[in-house]
Each structure stands twice: as structure tokens, then as C-alpha cells.
Symmetry: C2
Subunit: 220 residues, 2 copies
């Protein structure tokens, strides 16, 4: 069968896509290994398989990049992932910090009709519950140029529009601080020695590390 990829292959394509998005250029074996929670040796092996199928360009020792075909395939997986996340949160009462794991499974379901109907059923959403854009059926990704909370200066305000680190721990932490999508925040103070920030959220003040503020996207 043509156009059929294993779950593992799809996971690699998606991972390469994400790493390429933020780092650009060639994606390293070790970065992939870390993201996919596997060993470098296994990554090398899979990369060769993908290269044989013309899904990636691979030059030994110099990392890997998606081809046009590979990128297209990665985008259909991302699309499915984000549509399912939307479904889980908006129709099935999932909290936005507990959808990731299930969406990782659902994203591999093969059925063009299912994806199309799900999209329609949800009212063709443009963004998922984490504020990430949902690619359309032809693989166009409406990329809003994102600004990090860490880029704001003291006194500036921003509205939370997304998160980079979608780990359950991070999202739970944010929830505890009453920070979520569309939450308004004002930068009160920035510590020069570690770049941590004191931020006004509603009537509370919250201290956020540089790691945290790097992972929160805002619109001002």
C-alpha cells in the first residue's frame, strides 16, 4: 500500500517537524532521541528507513531534514493531533493539561473521512486548546508570529496565547497559578541575575523562572 506509514515512522516525522520549527536546519540524532525517549542508535536506524522512503534528507553525521513529502505527512499528523485535542477539551470535558497522551494515540488513526468530519463537527477550529495553530486539510499552517513572555519589558502587558512546553507538569503548574489561554498578565519586575519575572495575574503576583517565561507565548 502506498502512502502508509507505521506509527513509529509518523512519530519520527512529527518530532523532526517540531524540532525543525524551532531550531531550523538539520535536526540532530540526539535531539530526536531525547524527544522520542529512545536511544541514538535507534534513531539512526529509523532515519535511514525514512531516507529510503524519501521522507527526509539525511547526511551522515550532519542531521536530518524533512523533504516536501515528509513535511506534508508530518503536517497531517499534527493536524490530527490538534483536532483531537480540541475534541477532547471541547466535547469530552478533558482538561487541557491531560489531553496530550490520548491525542498521541488518536493522531495515528487512519481515515481521511474521519478527519474531515471531525474538523466539521468542531466548527473548523483554527487553534487547539494550547493555542497552537491547526494545519488545514492541504497542510497550510497559519503561523502567527509568536512572542515569548520573556521578551516583554517591565510594565508591559500581554495576553497568553500558547505554550511551547506542553508537558503535563508544566501545564499543571500554570493551572495552579491561574494561568491559561487568554489570561492577561502584566510584567511587574524582572530579576536581572536570573531573568525571573514577577507577573501580575488577576489580583495575584506570581514569580516565573526564565525557563517558564520562555515557554509562554503572548500577544500584546
Amino acid at each position: 500500500m502506498k502512502n502508509m506509514f507505521t506509527q513509529s515512522e509518523e512519530n519520527y516525522l512529527k518530532a523532526i517537524f517540531h524540532l525543525q520549527e524551532e531550531a531550523g536546519e538539520g535536526v540532530s540524532t540526539s535531539a530526536l532521541a531525547e524527544l522520542l525517549e529512545t536511544k541514538a542508535a535507534s534513531v539512526t536506524e529509523m532515519i535511514k528507513r525514512l531516507a529510503n522512503k524519501n521522507l527526509v534528507d539525511y547526511k551522515k553525521y550532519y542531521g536530518v531534514q524533512l523533504t516536501q513529502t515528509g513535511r506534508k505527512q508530518a503536517l497531517t499528523v499534527v493536524r490530527k493531533h490538534r483536532l483531537w485535542e480540541s475534541f477532547l477539551v471541547e466535547r469530552l470535558n478533558f482538561n487541557w493539561d491531560e489531553v496530550h497522551e490520548v491525542a498521541e494515540q488518536l493522531e495515528h488513526i487512519r481515515s481521511p473521512k474521519l478527519v474531515e468530519e471531525l474538523d466539521r463537527f468542531l466548527g473548523r477550529p483554527a487553534y487547539d486548546p494550547h493555542g497552537d495553530p491547526i494545519p488545514d486539510a492541504s497542510g497550510n499552517l497559519p503561523k502567527a508570529p509568536k512572542k515569548r513572555l520573556s521578551q516583554l519589558k517591565e510594565g508591559q502587558k500581554g495576553v497568553c496565547k500558547g505554550f511551547n512546553d506542553a508537558s503535563s507538569a508544566f501545564l499543571k503548574f500554570l493551572d495552579d497559578q491561574d494561568i491559561g489561554m487568554h489570561t492577561e498578565m502584566k510584567v511587574m519586575q524582572i530579576q536581572s541575575f536570573d531573568e525571573s519575572m514577577t507577573v501580575q495575574v488577576g489580583k495575584r503576583q506570581v514569580l516565573l523562572s526564565k525557563t517558564a517565561t520562555d515557554n509562554i507565548y503572548v500577544e500584546d
Copy 2:
């Protein structure tokens, strides 16, 4: 991890369950091989794995039966399959004859919360779009004693309540004859030489082979 089964294992458990339902007693290697579209040798192998995990009782050359644990697991898969079929038909505009393949994939998604919320979202349906009962969360299956259309006598009426053969071809055939869930039918004539039936459906008369009438369940 305990309580974790591969997709393949789940497929075998479900297949054994279905064959046990209609044939009772021990399920033969060849019956499984045919249903699962695989070879007898592969079945034997898998059966041994399942026996080691105490999901089935197996006596060489004498077929296989589910243990309590195995039956329970099979029922959770059946539950998921039928809930997803309901979702596809009732919310995503799928036709009841095109859901099977997709549900075969969705039934393997692992997430107790997802199943519970899906059930709630659908209004805790008791039957799936084919008229088959949906097991509840604790694995209780409300079994309505089913009667086959082929068991009716001339002149008797019946209301269609389910189908045994869920093949796409069969379901499409029924659709073409305007026969679906809850369709009322009246037996006009039975051919003695091949047991085929002439049936009144709405204002049309339809000729159904014995094979067909054996696979249509009715309530009278």
C-alpha cells in the same frame, strides 16, 4: 506495565469472544485464522502467548476458551468498538456501513477517561448502530435473545434489530433494499427448495436468500 495488551492480543481476544458467543465451547484455530485473516500457525503461536498471560484456557488440539480475565478484557474492547461506531454514525455523519474499519482502529485507544466521557457524551447508548448491545463499564452485556429473520413463518412480521454479518458488502446490499435498523418487514413467501424469502419492505417486495435471512435479526 500490568493490564497492557498489544493491539494484536486485543484483536485475538475479541475474535475469540465473538466466536464463543455464537458457537459456544472451544474455539478452533482455523476459525480464528479465518476471522483474523491470518494463518493457523500464527494463531497457535498467539494462543500460547495468551495462555501464558492467563487470558485463555488452551488445550492443544482442542481449541481455546476465554478465562474470566480474558472475557473481561474482550468486553472492554467490544465496548469501545461499539461506542466509537455510535459516535461515528450519530455525530460524524458516517453511514452505518462504513464505520467498521475505523472503529477497528479506535477500539485500541487506551484511556479509561476517554471511554467514560465518550459514553456520557453519547448519552450512554445501549445499542450500537448495527443493533448490537454495548457492554457497560463493568462488562455487563445486556443480551436480548435474538431471533433470525429466517426463523419467521410466512405471514409473520418482524422489526429489524441487528445484523450478524457486518461486512460492508452485506450492509450496502441491505441499504439498497431499503432495509435498516428498525425497518418493519413481513414474510410473504418462503421458497421451499432453497429457503429464500420474499419479504414486504414498505411498499416493495424483496427477495432474500437464506444466507441473508440468517444474518438479519428481528424482533416480532
